[in-house]
Subunit: 345 residues, 2 copies
Amino acid sequence: MSISEASIGASPLGRGPTIRDVAALSGVAASTVSRALTQPHRVNQATRERIEAAARELGYAPSTYPRSTGPGRSGAVAVLVPDITNPYFFDFIRSTQHQLKTAGYTQLLVDTEEDVELEATYLEEFRGSAVGFILPATRLSDEQLISAAAKSPLVTINRSTPGVPSVIIDTPSGVQQAMEHLFSLGHRDIAYLAGPPNSWSDGRRWDALQERAELLGIIIRRLGPYHPSTRSGAAAADTLLNSGATACIAFNDLVAIGVLVRLRERGIDVPNEMSVVGCDDIFGADFCQPPLTTLTAPIEQAGRVATDMLVSRLRPGRSQMRMKAELPTHLTIRASTGPPLRPAR
Amino acid sequence: MSISEASIGASPLGRGPTIRDVAALSGVAASTVSRALTQPHRVNQATRERIEAAARELGYAPSTYPRSTGPGRSGAVAVLVPDITNPYFFDFIRSTQHQLKTAGYTQLLVDTEEDVELEATYLEEFRGSAVGFILPATRLSDEQLISAAAKSPLVTINRSTPGVPSVIIDTPSGVQQAMEHLFSLGHRDIAYLAGPPNSWSDGRRWDALQERAELLGIIIRRLGPYHPSTRSGAAAADTLLNSGATACIAFNDLVAIGVLVRLRERGIDVPNEMSVVGCDDIFGADFCQPPLTTLTAPIEQAGRVATDMLVSRLRPGRSQMRMKAELPTHLTIRASTGPPLRPAR
DNA sequence: ATGAAAGCGCTAACAT
DNA sequence: ATGTTAGCGCTTTCAT
């Protein structure tokens, strides 16, 4: 072996020492090693220490895979996020990672890049490997979702489908609140900057807005759909300016921030010439210019609840699981909303 | 079984159908099923179709774990990021996910939350399960790192340790550029807002700044260390204002953005009263107020290169691997830098 | 307290 | 082209 190779360290693809190597070195049976490592009290003090020493010496690291096939299998839970670059999922991811770890599972985090097909592919690909799925903001159709739920334990976030456990964040009430806030400021013509067509949340928000607009007797316009990213902001802002609306509510903060940037470029004053409201209160919503009025979502809690729901399904002991949890949002008012130049007619 | 249970779908913890179930249903041996599914051409057309039908009918999904233990093992590559909520890693994560997937590996993404101990724990925990590691911005000591590299194939990013393969993003040259930019604007007293003490990048940047400051005959002050998040911004900004410096270069954009926010709160005009430069050009650097001058890092490329390096180590066929790659950064000038009130003395 | 043996789901030699 | 067998690393009865 050359020096350079030695310096590299681990042998390429060299399977590390196995439980049998440790057994041989400590002069016991493999099963004893297994016990010593997983149920230390079930083995003699002296033996255990000998085994531990041998394991240390060999640099033994147990592979978790076999546990996933044998009896008492644990395993991985796959979390499929549509866009890992969307700050919305930050706290969610952290939250699920914590909860899963605590419950003895490994988080398998996958970015589906807003692509339904990719999402379906991963769902299928990991079906055999993961013991369950968490699907925040899935883009799957009801049929796909139901079929997937029939095959693997799974929990969705912000997506209600019959028979599929879900955690719902109540943004519809939130956007209604936002609308009323705008109404109270004098706005009478409001635009909704729509998100992905296959987003369930999008549909619900739009419905809620229409309903409330009718009640208030004001105009609500649906613009878009837009890809939920800051890049869509320019297009959305331009359309918005030509629409006649004096305020807008965006599908999410990314779009809203993109709109703010574009409006500034075009010299439009926010909120005096245009009020902007986002959804989610993501990283950046507080330091963009002007700071964004938005709906703060309890996303970290959503992650916790979703994980608990899934885990309770995974443990056969538990009696019965909650099929649905609903979490409230609240409106965080910042400088991006204010009076329109003049109350509409 | 109650209706509600039925509607839930998958049986709780029900191990799905196995390859043997499919074999039984299609009247062939298990090995034939395996072949039919992995090397379709090696099996009779008719048989294959029968097997595929049976698999479909049972909803069979292969478990990937056994492949990880048996011969020709593939497996997971663990990517340990210090802070998944830091937008810096966005494109990196995407990039590694793509590359790994292409190469036939699964990305195991783990958030170590800026915690050395947690990082070490995960490194140990996944040592047996993952075939290799990618460590962007590890906080480990040289000893820990070398020891880890001796046990598992691993590639670091932004961390050079003898014998450990690494991808280095050349921010030192970048911060020197930034300093010269500030110098040309008339700044003669510049502060460096330091990052985590155990960050290798931090040390390198500081060294580069000191060296260049001496050359230019100007003052450079080290303030901090600060936790690399926007939350540290307030403390950093306050110290900064009392330091006498007319400009600052921050460890990363999160700190820089936090500083911008705080300065605005305190009514300090950026860049007229204080110039601010960040590092990394993360999401948010372009839409904060004022937009942040920063060093744009080719992080997506870094992910690609790092993955390639690791994968080439994993495949025994490859002759020899690159031990080091260096990637350049460039200074992106935005509105957060400008002339100081008056050139220092 | 420990060992022997069987088995998890899958793949790959080796036979047929 | 297909079946048989052995084996991956680990856990778990069941003996001893």
